[in-house]
Amino acid sequence: METLKVPTMQEKIANGETPDILFWVGCSGSFDDRAKKITKAIVRILNHVGANFAVLGVEESCTGDPAKRSGNEFLFQMQAMQNITILNGYDVKKIVTGCPHCFNTIKNEYPELGGKYEVIHHTELVQQLINEGKLKVQGGEFKGKKIVFHDPCYLGRANGVYEAPRDVISKLDAELVEMKRSKATGLCCGAGGAQMFKEAEKGTKEVHVERAEEALAQNPDVIAVGCPFCNTMMTDGVKHFNKEDKTKVLDVAELIATANDL
């Protein structure tokens, strides 16, 4: 059995240590069985490079993103201020998130409410670790495989981060292909705006089916994602077309952790 080292902020402080970076896990990464694997892949990378990090553990709470997007500003601000109180209490300076929605909310919407931190998405962290020489990456089982990257809206369009995940994937010696709608014109997976938590309105097609169809048209071995919600939606979409044996939906962190036996 592998042993992950996941210190909490409370433990670190009790030991008189100050972590360099807080890993914000997010609700999906904490509770969703599929997303927990992504969380662990991120931890493996952090452990591998010996990062001095911590998580909030049970002190973490939803950033309020789904409340904000669905117009419940009260609930959003309650969540935000509760989190900010805890983060500021620990004097957190730098945060890495496993989810673009958490990333966007903490980075862009917390400052006005008193929470100012340096916030990066986990694909940016991996890119930095590679660039600094702390993480050596090989292609492993993905070498020569065809990988298509699906841009999460809240990483790409919302924050202009298009290159970090692609840069990381390119280190796998894989064939990175693009869908017609990618980067700034990328199509949503269908989960954003709190759609994850409700049925779709009446229409002719589900958004995730439309997007999965576009990704599968590239005939990829892997659909790479950087968001646990995109992961769920794209996985459902691939299943819709009965392509789950041929095409895997994997987070960029999982690609790196798996290829390098971390």
Partner: protein
């Protein structure tokens, strides 16, 4: 002399009527809530130059971008010719600037003629795209009726305008070669304009001089009548974007797209729970309305957005929900906002300057909750808009109204809200289990 008087009268009436309607639009826009957009002047000018003048965002779709560029360039450059037309109209001269400007005059008119031919091609192509090829985004249901007619009227007006220009220049060319033009004779036998010096003799070469004088005048008057007709059509048309694209891009949202506006009226109430030292700013007894029910709950920038929309539909054709057949269409959000604002404006005009409640609102009578709840907040519409319109922030405002004022979110979302409140997660998991993943296999 008589023609000068008619021209001046026409000029004054045409300008005044436009001014009156432009003022109404300004008043309507200012019905929106006040926000201050005075920061980053140089960045704003840069955005305006790139996006409005340079049409940067159009070029993500090259074919319509090039066709549009033809019309746009012709429109902008032709305005230079108007200076002479207005001068001639008032003073009774004919081609007053030709003798003094010489070769530059020939160059300018030639350039305008070439752009006019390109604009003609563009206009015919646009008409075909709408009516024959039926490009999907140009035939969607929200365009049925007036919007479709409006688009065709604009294009047909442009074709007529171009025809008048060539009637005027073509007939005058033949007259000049016969020594019969009212333009000052400079001892040459042709104006030497790029298109009309060939097209004129070809079409009008065989016609008698008296008839040509009539045709030349029809072209001249027709041109200026169309210009003023167009100007006065703008306030009632989607075509207003040719003017409002400039201020609208200047006042663009310069923040990253992921940052949604903070509602300070909420912060003011929530903050004391976490910071006992915080002193609320807003009057606790004042009635605060949350979110957007009607157009007056939007900001003036939203309303400027609505008037700037030319209904091109790039937003809706990139909207994941619209693509998959849902009722949501960002373009319709903007069209509804404008339609409702125009209705409110007419109400104010009719009732001597004050709005009398008509029992209607943007939310419900124009935009349905089905449309609003379909949105993915993915910002594709915002990204696509060639004049930086933001339909998403209107949608979020409408959602805030439904949730905070009317408590009428879809049931599943209400469930998500209570999970968030009770468990700190959108699902029904105990917050005590949040770190369980650490020790699971």
């Amino acid at each position: 002399m008589i023609s000068s008087i008619i021209f001046v009268a026409f000029f004054i009436v045409g300008s005044t009527y436009f001014f009156i309607n432009a003022k109404k639009i300004r008043r309507n826009i200012l019905l929106g809530k006040d926000i201050s957009i005075t920061d980053n002047r140089s960045e704003r000018i840069k955005t305006m130059v790139l996006v409005a003048l340079g049409q940067k965002k159009m070029f993500t779709r090259p074919i319509p971008a090039i066709l549009h560029l033809f019309l746009y360039a012709a429109f902008v450059i032709t305005q230079i010719e108007l200076i002479e037309i207005i001068f001639d109209g008032i003073t009774g001269h004919h081609r007053a600037f030709r003798s003094s400007l010489g070769g530059f005059y020939t160059f300018m008119v030639s350039f305008i003629e070439i752009l006019s031919v390109l604009a003609f091609i563009g206009t015919v192509a646009f008409l075909s795209r709408r009516n024959l090829l039926k490009i999907p985004r140009l035939v969607k249901s929200e365009l049925n009726g007036w919007p479709k007619l409006d688009a065709n009227i604009i294009l047909i007006m442009e074709i007529i305008l171009i025809c008048f220009i060539f009637m005027m220049n073509g007939a005058d060319e033949v007259l000049y070669s016969r020594g019969q033009s009212h333009a000052e004779n400079l001892g040459d036998s042709s104006f030497g304009f790029s298109i009309s010096s060939y097209l004129g003799p070809l079409i009008y070469g065989g016609m008698p001089t008296a008839g040509l004088h009539v045709i030349e005048r029809i072209g001249w008057w027709g041109h200026i009548i169309m210009v003023f007709g167009f100007l006065n059509y703008l306030p009632f048309s989607k075509h207003l974007h040719i003017l409002l694209a400039f201020p609208n891009t200047y006042f663009s949202n310069l923040k990253v797209k992921g940052q949604f506006n903070n509602l300070f009226e909420v912060t003011d109430v929530v903050k004391p729970n976490f910071d006992p030292a915080y002193q609320p700013v807003l009057d606790p007894n004042a009635v605060i309305k949350f979110g957007v029910k009607d157009v007056t709950d939007l900001t003036w920038k939203h309303l400027l957005d609505a008037y700037s929309c030319t209904e091109c539909g790039r937003c809706s054709s990139s909207c994941p929900q619209n693509i998959t057949g849902k009722a949501l269409s960002p373009r319709k959000i903007m069209m509804d906002t404008r339609d409702r604002l125009v209705e409110v404006g007419k109400n104010i005009d009719k009732n001597g300057g004050t709005f009398v409640d008509d029992g209607k609102s943007l939310l419900g009578d124009y935009i349905t909750s089905e449309e609003i709840w379909a949105c993915n907040t993915c910002n594709a519409c915002v990204q696509e808009c060639p004049v930086n319109i933001d339909p998403l922030s209107i949608i979020v405002g409408l959602r805030q109204q439904l949730v905070l004022e009317q408590s009428s979110a879809p049931n599943e979302l209400n469930g998500m809200f209570s999970n968030l409140e009770n468990n700190g997660a959108p699902w029904q998991f105990s917050p005590a289990d949040r770190a369980n993943w650490i020790n699971e296999n």
